[in-house]
């Protein structure tokens, strides 16, 4: 039971925030990497639709980044308060 009281230490919370931000970056990398990969594949198959695919890729990347930034902002809140 005394081990659980370690969790009360604020430093552990900040470490958790750091790990959380790292995992969020991981999620961003995986998500946007997959979007970019499939977009490039599609562009290679049909070069004349490059413009359409590029626009949609950017929209999807921005949506994924929205979720990631939500996690980052939460971690920042934990660190700053």
């Amino acid at each position: 039971m005394s081990l659980l009281t370690i969790l009360l230490d604020a430093a552990i919370g900040i470490m958790g925030a750091g790990i959380g931000a790292g995992i969020a970056a991981l999620g961003a990398g995986v998500g946007i990497g997959r979007i970019g990969g499939s977009a490039l594949e599609a562009m290679a198959r049909q070069p004349e639709s490059t413009g359409d695919i590029r626009a949609n890729m950017i929209v999807a990347a921005a949506l994924v980044e929205g979720a990631v930034f939500f996690a980052i902002v939460l971690c920042l809140l934990v660190v700053l308060a």
């Binding site: 626009a55 950017i58 929209v59 921005a62 980044e65 929205g66 930034f69 939500f70 980052i72 902002v73 700053l80």
Partner: protein, 368 residues
Amino acid sequence: MTRNYGLKTLRNSKIFRAFIIMTITLGLSSNLSASESSSDDEFKPGDIIMHHVMDAHEIHIMDGVHFPLPIIVKAPNAVDFFSYSRFEVAEGSDVKKYTSPSSGNTYIYEHGHIYMGNEAGEIQMDAEGNMVAPYDLSITKNVAGMFVTMFLMLLIFMTVAKSYKKRSGQAPKGLQSWIEPLIVFIRDDVAKPSIGHGYERFMPFLLTIFFFIWIANMLGLIPFLGGMNITGNIAVTAVLAVFTFVITSINGNKGYWMHIIRPPGVPLGLLPLLVPIEILGVFIKPMVLCLRLFANITAGHIIILSFTMLIFIFANTSGVGVAYGVSIGTLIFSVFMNVLELLVAFLQAYVFTLLSALYFGQATEEAH
């Protein structure tokens, strides 16, 4: 007969003259005050970064060059209007205060907030032990940045509109050639595909939002002249998202609301699960718009500032020589991040506009 708003009439107009007079007055009232040192000389990079990213009541260009902004506070008994430079730290105390001669109120400035206080430097407390603060309607750094953005937008677009009127039927020339592709891009690639029929109604809002966010983002990237982090303030982006939410809700036709309350083709058992999610979605979509813009811009600024602070951290811990060495690599990274932030400035404006257009399209979609 409408009045032509060209560059010359702009220069002569009363509003422009008032703006120039206001700027010059503010500039002359700035005093080259000595840089205020904190009580401990410890170097805290986190505090410096936060100070640069957050709003302030003065424009702090360099150590020693401050540009105080007007402060407008509404206390319960009076409205006070004075310059930030009037706040003084009295001898022997470290409380920054100012007593207004017209209303007799004493205002105390602490950590970026203004509170009511008394002559002795104590902050007034209310019944629950909270510090009493007047309504702070000051022209802070962000508000000044928004004024600059608005002025730039008015300047650009009134010039372009006048050029179109003067050269109707001819090929565009000068500033028109810069702006026309952007406006056509918003119309043909953002508004028409997303909204479809009846997109003209939303074009003014979409164009305004796009150019406002873009110019505001760019202003935040200018290093010395204030570094006004306008869209990095969650209040500003929240208001923009509220605009989108209000316009979507007002223009929502019956099909839109039916999709939320009673999605067609969904078995009855799934409704208690799906409808709360849809209703939450109505509020979450604008909230995510707000958070996406805020987090992108703030994160970019913090990264650039962190790279710059790295030089000073090395100077403090390992010596000045190491700092000089590190500064070469750090500067390259900072330049790279700044260029990336230029791209992000445009991209975030485009994404905000595109998603707003998509929501408008969903709201006004005809049933198929």
